[in-house]
């Protein structure tokens, strides 16, 4: 079919993702994992995977299930597959986290949680990669943002492959020396492909279109954007192929492939930054909405994080500060952007679901009538201020200060979630403008009522 319907399961992904984010923030407040505990402690692995999979990967997966069809103007290949994938992802994440708790010495029985969790996660991610990949493939030739997404999905393949290998080795299911060596030394590859290739590169591609769309900026494909794509994709390939080749075939460490990938990534990020500044400067809409203003703070965090990464690597201090930098990327950049964009997307999807049939036939509210930007602005400010304070505490190695700042993040996130639920349940819409019947109460978890039509 021509055109795009609402993705039925995107809102379910968002809801579970936000629950995971709140859970992770509570753990940080409680002093569980980095920086209160060592960066290599199993507790930190629980925290990192709850954030990376439970929050960020579910958020981006849910967003892509709706956004890839918009990018390529074609329906999702399989509209019902995402719920099967979501079930596997949630079960897999639970298994993985219990497995890490077992490594930390908690008594969880004799079930091989880690391996089972990794297998379920692999199935869940592969189903979504297959669905999104088929959709992109059937729409060839695809535009620049879709190329970023395709490269991000390739990186995700690398992340889950390495993660599955690690789980088999840590679970004692293999003693193959190659896999053991990869497990002992390949964690930087897993982390770089996950945080850089999958989460960051995909988010970069999506922002090219989203920011242009909502700020009415010209969307021409510039040479800088093409070089950003090529350099970033090359960085992914260097980590994905060059890393294992250096480690397993050439018998060297990972310093060279990681350095080459870093240089390529910095080239990509610099040109991306240049493009994004141009999108903001050339926008036709002078007064921009809260989501675009807050996204600027997230983009600033990406710039600052990249600069610190470069400087600390050059000074040979990266090992000491890697946890703090990862925190800044995960919460300043990815979470900041995610919350800012959710604030727009949840209202927009809800509005389209509830009022799509009524448009032009009876008075309907505007999308902005579903939200209260003045109220939400305060909580976004608190969120970014707290992230700034927590980042400084993490850099200075001050766990107590970090926990206080994490409490600020938690309060801000709870309040932003309240705003999202308010938009989703049409709480701010005057009674005379409420839709009737089934559409009157859209769910937080259950599927969108408007079925995907082929």
């Amino acid at each position: 079919m021509i055109g795009v319907s609402l993705s039925r399961w995107t809102m379910s992904y968002f809801t579970i993702a936000l629950v995971a984010l709140l859970g992770a923030e509570m753990l940080m407040v409680a002093g569980f994992g980095f920086p209160s505990q060592s960066i290599v402690a199993p507790q930190t692995l629980v925290l990192v995977h709850l954030i990376a999979i439970g929050w960020l990967s579910l958020l981006i997966s849910g967003a892509l299930l709706q956004f890839v069809p918009v990018l390529v103007a074609k329906s999702l290949a399989y509209s019902e597959l995402p719920i099967v994938a979501l079930a596997f992802l949630v079960a897999g994440l639970a298994g993985l986290l219990v497995g890490f708790l077992a490594l930390a010495g908690f008594s969880v029985g004799s079930i091989p949680w880690l391996t089972l969790g990794a297998i379920c996660l692999t199935v869940g991610f592969v189903l979504n990669i297959w669905n999104l990949g088929r959709t992109l493939w059937s729409a060839r030739p695809i535009g620049l943002p879709a190329h970023f997404v395709a490269a991000g999905l390739l990186s995700l393949v690398g992340v889950i492959t390495l993660g599955t290998i690690f789980s088999f080795a840590l679970g004692g299911w293999t003693t193959n020396p190659v896999l053991m060596r990869l497990t002992a030394q390949g964690i930087p590859l897993h982390a770089a492909l996950g945080l850089g290739g999958w989460l960051t590169f995909t988010a970069m591609g999506v922002t090219y279109r989203l920011l242009a769309m909502f700020m009415l900026s010209p969307e021409a494909e510039h040479r800088t954007s093409q070089i950003a794509l090529v350099a970033g994709a090359a960085a992914i390939l260097v980590v994905l192929i060059g890393g294992p080749v250096c480690l397993l075939i050439l018998g060297q460490g990972l310093t060279h492939p990681l350095l080459v990938a870093l240089v390529l990534a910095i080239v990509s990020l610099s040109l991306y930054g240049h493009d994004i500044v141009r999108l903001y400067r050339t926008r036709k809409r002078r007064k921009i909405e809260l989501n675009a203003r807050m996204a600027a703070w997230a983009l600033g965090s990406l710039g600052l994080g990249s600069l610190l990464l470069l400087v600390l690597t050059a000074l040979g201090e990266i090992d000491r500060f890697v946890g703090a930098i990862v925190f800044l990327f995960a919460f300043g950049w990815l979470t900041g952007l995610g919350l800012a964009k959710l604030y727009k997307i949840v209202a927009f999807l809800t509005w389209l679901e509830c009022y799509g049939e009524l448009l032009g036939r009876r008075p309907t509210p505007r999308v902005q009538d579903l939200v209260d930007e003045r109220r939400a602005k305060l909580w976004f400010w608190l969120y970014f201020a707290s992230v700034g304070a927590a980042s400084i505490a993490a850099f200075l190695g001050a766990p107590l200060a970090f926990r206080v700042a994490a409490f600020g993040m938690l309060v801000a996130t709870v309040k932003i979630c309240v705003e999202l639920v308010s938009a989703r349940t049409l709480r701010l819409v005057p009674p005379t403008l409420l839709p009737q019947g089934d559409r009157a109460r859209p769910g937080l978890l259950r599927p969108s009522l408007q079925h995907s039509r082929r």
Partner: protein, 180 residues
């Protein structure tokens, strides 16, 4: 006697990441009187239907395997004579020949989403069945097109030659909503 269709295979250009629009337009210019164009592409070239419909071509598309498409563009010599007759049913495949001139023209290019969607749907509701409106947009209206189909309206749209403006024509249906 009618000439055999001219065959143009743009798949190599598309696979190399190129833009085949110029090659297609050159081929159209080079067609003999009444000659058809057989086009081979790696996707269904929907935007081209509108462009070539304006030049008086009907199209018949079929998937030929491996995701590739073959489209036969046939000149409709009766196109001009047919002005005023009802257009062909079939939603996105409808052709402009036979459609009345648009009664309303909307320029929605500088509106923030979803205003183009709201404005276009509201304007279509004000038309009488069979009447046509045109709308200029700054991108393909991916959420609007299914809404038009659901409401039983016919539409056709394509990017203008500048590649930046999407022109949409909507003809109001008889009021019967399409089956979901």
């Amino acid at each position: 006697m009618t000439q055999a269709p001219h065959e143009l295979d743009v798949r190599p250009i598309l696979r190399a990441g190129g833009e085949p629009f110029t090659a297609i337009m050159d081929a159209v210019k080079g067609l003999g009187s009444g000659q058809a164009l057989r086009l081979l592409a790696t996707f269904e070239p929907v935007p081209l239907y509108g462009v070539l419909a304006k030049k008086g071509f009907d199209h018949a598309a079929r998937e030929v395997g491996g995701g590739d498409w073959e489209v036969l563009f046939t000149p409709t010599s009766a196109a001009v004579a047919a002005q005023g007759r009802p257009g062909k049913p079939g939603g996105e495949n409808a052709a402009t020949p036979g459609w009345p001139e648009p009664l309303r023209h909307l320029d929605n290019r500088d509106l923030e989403p979803p205003e183009p969607l709201v404005r276009t749907l509201a304007a279509v509701e004000e038309l009488q069945p069979g009447e046509v409106l045109s709308a200029l947009l700054c991108r393909e209206p991916v959420f609007l097109l299914p809404k038009l189909r659901e409401r039983g309206h016919e539409w056709q749209g394509a990017f203008e030659e500048d590649g930046k403006t999407y022109k949409l024509l909507v003809r109001k249906g008889t009021g019967k909503e399409a089956a979901a």
